[in-house]
Every structure is written in structure tokens, then in C-alpha cells.
Symmetry: C2
Subunit: 330 residues, 2 copies
């Protein structure tokens, strides 16, 4: 990109609720002309704007408002996943898409470890017994020595692999490209060997981007090759899993449990049977959101905005065909 010297930035934030409006935007306002919009008024905010900051990580509003994007050159997402941004029009356009790769890696890896340990030690059962003032000793499971299959070989999957290996788990990755040895994931199986990976795993961890290859990767067929003692942890995107198939497998105890931070629809509807299943942890899409995360996301965008204004290369440029930042890309 050539240096634009000035910029008009639209910040797309939710009407209400999580993640609210971005904090610490004074620096952005010093650098550029900033407009705020929700999904409802994005279409009137976009004309003339060259930059869109998709702060609302659930909004698909850009697809609808696309005809109004008459000057748009760059879209930055305040998330690692960008499936909500990548409409066919965006993919086929010249618009550059960047994401917030890096911010969530270590927090999400800690969260996955928390969920795996909580399942192994039945911590939800302990909390439920505590509510009833019931003292009931149980035996728990070791996590060390167990086998984890991590779907996703990007920086989040890698941080998860390192964290689980650090507590003595055996880790295998699964991704687009097979690798016999991998520094973070032990070895990596290609997607067409998913069934082999699932059959070996005590914990299956989903941290893959949502793409046409990964959508619905955990369905009845996949669940049926998992061990009856195995558990599923999803911190990626809800549609990686065919949720009805998972509910059925859990209800029939065909797998031992699940810890889910993401869902087909969010917030998870009150009517979902997942809420009341004793072998399920329902977590409200918070795996990466440690204290200070909003400020870190704004700071990352501000750094990229400075690069944009200076005509320097942007960080975290997404390969729009693939749906994520290619490995080795800055």
C-alpha cells in the first residue's frame, strides 16, 4: 500500500453487551478521523471511510453494508477468527484484511488447560456438591500421560500444544499439512487422517480457524471414532462442531464429556440441552479474554494504523482464500 497520510476509520461495535465499545481510543482519534457505528448504521458510516475496525467480533454487518464501502482499503478484526468478515465480496476485492493474532495465544492455552484439568478432576461436580453442602470424596484422573489431539496449527494451537505438553500430556496436532516432527505439537496429522487422530485421543481440542475445510469437522462420524472416555474441548468457533450431533453423543455417553467456550449460536440459547448436562462445561466465549485484553486489542490496531499511515507493511495480514494468517507471515 502507498502511504495514505490520513485515514477515516469506522469502528464497528455492538449496540450493547460484550465486547462493548473499545477503550483507550484517544490514540486512534489523534491519528485519524474516527467514526463509531453499530451493525444498524454501518451502511451510513462506511461511505468515504478507508479503514474498518471490526471491534464487534460477532458482527457480520460488513457483508450487508458492502455496497456502501466505496473507499474501503483495509479491514482489521479485533479477533483471531475472521470468518465474520470474509464475505465473498471481501474475499474477491482488493481490501486487505488483518486480524489480532498473538493477543489470545497464551490466555487461550491457559484456558484450555483449565478446562482439561477441570474435566479430569471433576471440578464442576465439586462445585455442585459444595452448593448442596455435600462432602463426597471421589477418585479423579491424571492429566499427565494422557493424549491430546489439537486441531489448529496456528499460534493458538501451538500455544495450547506447548501448555499441555508442559504438564506431561502427549500432544499431536492436526492441520492442513502433515509434519512428522513439530516443535510445539509433536507431530501433525493431515486433515484426511482426522479419524486416526481422534481414535487415539483422550482430549480433543479444537482451535482451528473456521474454513470450508474445518466447518463441521466434529460430526457423528467423528464422534463415533472417539474413545468413550474421551472429552472434547472447543475454544475455536462453534460451527467446527455439528452441535446437534455432539448433544446426541453426550446424551448417549458415546464420549465422556465436553467443555465448550464457543457455540453454533451465541449467546447459547436458554433452550439448549447443553446447559444442564452434567458432563458438559458451558463457558461464555471468554477463553482469551484476560484482564486488559480490550486495551491490548486496541493497541495492536493502533500499531497497525500507524503502519498504514506510514505506508509500512501491516501486521497479521490474512490470506483471504485460506481464512487465516499464513505461517511465516509477519
Amino acid at each position: 500500500m502507498t502511504s495514505p497520510r490520513s485515514a477515516t476509520v469506522v469502528i464497528l461495535h455492538p449496540q450493547s453487551g460484550d465486547p462493548g465499545k473499545p477503550p483507550d481510543t484517544g490514540g486512534l482519534e489523534d491519528l485519524a478521523d474516527v467514526r463509531y457505528a453499530t451493525g444498524n448504521d454501518l451502511v451510513s458510516a462506511l461511505p468515504g471511510a478507508d479503514v474498518l475496525f471490526v471491534w464487534d467480533f460477532r458482527s457480520h454487518a460488513l457483508a450487508t453494508a458492502w455496497p456502501a464501502a466505496d473507499a474501503l482499503r483495509w479491514v482489521h478484526a479485533a479477533s483471531a477468527g475472521v470468518n465474520h468478515v470474509l464475505s465473498p465480496e471481501v474475499v474477491s476485492s482488493e481490501v486487505v484484511v488483518t486480524n489480532s493474532r498473538g493477543i489470545f495465544d497464551e490466555p487461550m492455552a491457559e484456558y484450555v488447560l483449565t478446562l482439561a484439568l477441570a474435566l479430569a478432576k471433576d471440578l464442576p461436580g465439586t462445585v455442585r456438591l459444595q452448593r448442596d453442602r455435600r462432602w463426597r470424596h471421589r477418585e479423579s484422573e491424571r492429566l499427565g500421560g494422557r493424549h491430546a489431539l489439537v486441531a489448529g496449527t496456528g499460534p493458538i494451537g501451538r500455544a495450547i500444544g506447548r501448555k499441555l505438553a508442559a504438564v506431561g500430556m502427549t500432544v499431536t496436532g492436526i492441520g492442513r499439512r502433515a509434519r512428522e516432527t513439530d516443535p510445539d505439537l509433536g507431530s501433525v496429522l493431515p486433515m484426511d487422517r482426522l479419524a486416526d487422530g481422534l481414535a487415539e485421543a483422550d482430549y480433543v481440542v479444537l482451535a482451528a480457524p473456521l474454513t470450508e475445510q474445518t466447518r463441521g469437522m466434529i460430526d457423528t462420524a467423528a464422534l463415533s471414532v472417539m474413545k468413550p472416555t474421551a472429552r472434547l474441548i472447543n475454544v475455536g468457533r462453534g460451527p467446527l462442531v455439528v452441535q446437534d450431533d455432539l448433544v446426541e453423543a453426550l446424551a448417549a455417553a458415546r464420549i465422556a464429556g465436553a467443555a465448550l467456550d464457543v457455540f453454533a449460536a451465541e449467546p447459547l440459547p436458554e433452550s439448549s440441552p447443553l446447559w444442564t448436562m452434567e458432563n458438559v462445561i458451558v463457558s461464555p466465549h471468554m477463553s482469551g479474554d484476560v484482564v486488559g485484553w480490550r486495551s491490548e486489542l486496541v493497541a495492536l490496531f493502533q500499531d497497525n494504523l500507524t503502519r498504514y499511515l506510514d505506508g509500512r507493511p501491516l501486521r497479521n495480514v490474512v490470506d483471504k482464500q485460506r481464512g487465516y494468517v499464513r505461517e511465516g507471515a509477519s
Copy 2:
């Protein structure tokens, strides 16, 4: 000890409830004359017995039944802590005491990590919200980079130190003897510098044996030097903490929370305010008890019984003055 060639073993087990009767005792019965007793009939089982296997890790019955121990040479405890066995009469006698050091190290370290992560990520809050089908996003805390103070420099404290360091925590130990560098605990402060250690810690983990030096080490004075954001984790023995002082500090939010696996009285009485505190995890003395633990405890005793019958040195001989197996001892 000289080789006794034969032995009469009394197994002291609870009347009912946890930990039940020992499993897999066929091997013991092949080696020795085995009698089973509860606290109520120990006094009639002891005469003529040379070995006592204290399977009931809560029973203080030996102190009362002591006058009947007319042939007792060796007491083995199916636990790491031996305070329930070490009555003044036992300490001043010739009776050898051994414990189950080693069985619980790694399971307990995993359990401590589980509790620390659960507190950092508010997993109990997530479970409570799930019960009410409420989706409420919250920010959570990182565990990496935080500071843990581990009281207890025996094998359990060391396993805990290694596990917490493996996920990026900074670890300091506290024990009888100061060490500037320590392979598992970073450095070790002496007990008289407890206040310094507490003031620095985000997580205070108690894994010390219960001795006259450690009893009540966490009281109002100790709690008052802890950070208001700090949490206490106790997997050692209940009386390491002055429980009423802790309840008061938690109720006044002078510290941020606690995860307790051991208590002044066990099971924790229904009337305890700890059950209903939202910043407290009440866990029923199960930190080391992974699937198979009972069999491992019996196997360890059986190995020691074989050594006893052969006149070979016993494993895990407790220094009765100190109340634990001395470091470097086999």
C-alpha cells in the same frame, strides 16, 4: 530390625465411608497373619501384633489403644501426613513409623494447578452461571507470570513447584531450611521469613507436614500481610490454617479467595460458612486420590512388609521427632 520371618498385621480401617477397606489384600494375607480392625475394636486386635497398617488416614485410635500394643514394632500409614499416628507414646517408643511418601506427589501437583487455574479463570462462577442457564462473559486472570509461595519442601511441595513453574509461574518455597537456589522451588525461605514470602505471593500453597512449627502458620497475622488479590490453596492438613481466622479474612475480602481440600474437621461440618462463600472452593480431601490410588497404597505397604519379613531396611521411615521422612532418606 532383625528379620522376624513371620508377622501379625493389624489393618486399621474406618467403620464406614472413605477410604473404605483396602483392596488387593490377597498378597498381604499370603505374607502374614492379617487382622482387620476399626477404631472401636483396635484395642482387642493389637495384642500380639507386631505390625499396624493405618489405612484409615483420619484415625487417631492408636493413641487410645496404645496400652494394648504389647508387641508392636512397626506402624505404616497409608498417607503422606502422619500426625494422626504420632502420639507422644509412639514418638518416645521404639516403634518404627513409615508413610506413603511418593504416591501422592504428581496427582497432588496436578490438583493444585487445577485449583489455581480454576480460581484465576473463575471456573466455579462459570459452573454456577451454567446451572442458571446464564451467559455472562467475564474477564479472567493469567496464571503465567504470577507468583506462588509453596509451603513444604518435601516431595509433594517439590512436585507442586515444578508443575506451577511449568505453566510460567514464579515459584518460591518456604521450609525449615533456607536455600538461595533450589531446583524445584526457585529459592526457599526459612519459616521465620514467612511474612516476606506471603507479602509477595499471588497464590499461597500449603503442602507442609503438620508439625508444631507449621500448625496454625496461616492465622490472622499471616493473612493480614497477604495481598488483597491473593488466594490460599491448602492441600496439606487442615490445622495448618486457623480456620476461623481464614473465614473472617475471606468474609472481609482481605484476601481474594481460597481453595481448600483439607479442613480443621473432616468432613467439613454442614454449618461451616465456607460452603457458601463464592470465593471459596470446598474440595473433599481428594487432591492425591487418582484412580488406582488405593491399590498403589496397598502395593507400597506390601513392598515394605516384604522388606520387614526379610530384615531389609524399610522405605519411607519417618523421623518421629520431625514428623516426616527426612530429605535424602530412602
